[in-house]
Amino acid sequence: MSFPVMLSELSEGMLKSVGIFVLTLIFSLPLGLVVAFGRMSKNKIVSGIIGFLISILRGTPLMLQLLVVYFFPYYLFGWSIGGWRFPAIIVGFSINYAAYFAEIYRSGIEAIPKGQHEAAQILGYTKVQTFFRIILPQVIKIILPAITNEIITLVKDTSLAFSLSYMEMFTIAKQIAAANTTFMPFVVSAVFYYVFNFVVAFVMRRMEKRMAYY
């Protein structure tokens, strides 16, 4: 296989990796916030269940979770899982990352002094207004470095979609490497991942700087 052909096949895979990355972020970032609220709920049953789920999601391999999400409709209900491959990947990634993001959100929310809530309450802000106008903007600034860490990990984790034989970049790299007994696809994909993360880190750094106004 010629180098340009390999490059174009890997690029196609790269697009799919980017697809997993973007969709996972779109779903897991807001979902994480919801999970964080559940985790911090005053209702002991709710916070207990959410805490347990988070510990499962953080305590077992993502690859295993992807397999579970993909196969459970078949094994549990006997449903056909044709066409479920890609949605399963997005669901699996989103749930897993939501668990991590939830704990990051929680750390940030709990870091905001009680006085901020009290000041907002005295000024007549509703709970929703208080959260979105006063608390969340301060939380984002605090948690941005931790979020960056997770996002960088996600770029590399997209390769785990190979466990469901999804044709993202790393799956393709492995196939090309096996078929042509060459190490080259791995080198190229390493460069791809690195450049991808370089961009991610750059963008996040810019965001951090934009938040540094106070």
């Binding site: 006085g115 309450q121 005295i122 007549g124 802000y125 106008r133 106070y214």
Partner: protein, 252 residues
Amino acid sequence: MVYVELKNVEKSFDDLEVLKGISLTVNEGEVVSIIGPSGSGKSTLLRLATLLEPWQKGELYYMGEPAVTMQNGYSVYEKPAQLKEIKKDFGLVFQNFNLFPHKTVLQNVSEAPIHVQKREKDVVRKEAMELLDKMGLSDKADYYPSQLSGGQQQRVAIARALALNPKVLYFDEPTSALDPELTGEVLKVIKALAEQKMTMVIVTHEMEFARNISDRIIFMDKGVVAASGTPEEVFNSDNTRMKEFLGKLSHA
């Protein structure tokens, strides 16, 4: 007219009885200072009056309207709609300012009138600038709180509270986090408000200040009102605990 009325307020934290049946009435235009040793329950009383702390026993009225009443021996809150209305009657200035760090000085002062009272932005901003001007801070409108001194921050906090036009303004040890110089500039602002007949309740350790600006002083000790009356009455009272407290102060 009676602006604030607290009746037989009792409050415990676990086994610790902090307030043991306190009553307090504040009239229109009155400046009431609450003094007393640390742990005497002053701040707790203020936090109950501003509904930051959950009520256990006692009643609370603003402008004659009930906020908290007693039923079967325990405090019961009025409906949320009624409480929302009542919360418009008062403002609170905190010991450690609690300004919003991610908002400019002008935003800190103007956002509650805009987002809570839903008033016209341009009008609110103009009024906020006037308030800042009165506080001597018109040149700091676009600064962030972290760029200001403690005294300036506290004056912003006062402006923020005033921007909502409260009928009663509470101060919870407004100068305890400030050095003597900065304390002076904040006290000057409060004094100016007293001269404009702003109704205020001030928890403070600044004895001279309390003596000068108050119409009435409440001396609290161990969860009860140990002495109260005009500044002269309280400062010259025969109450031994009061004498002890002031004596300790002058030796400090």
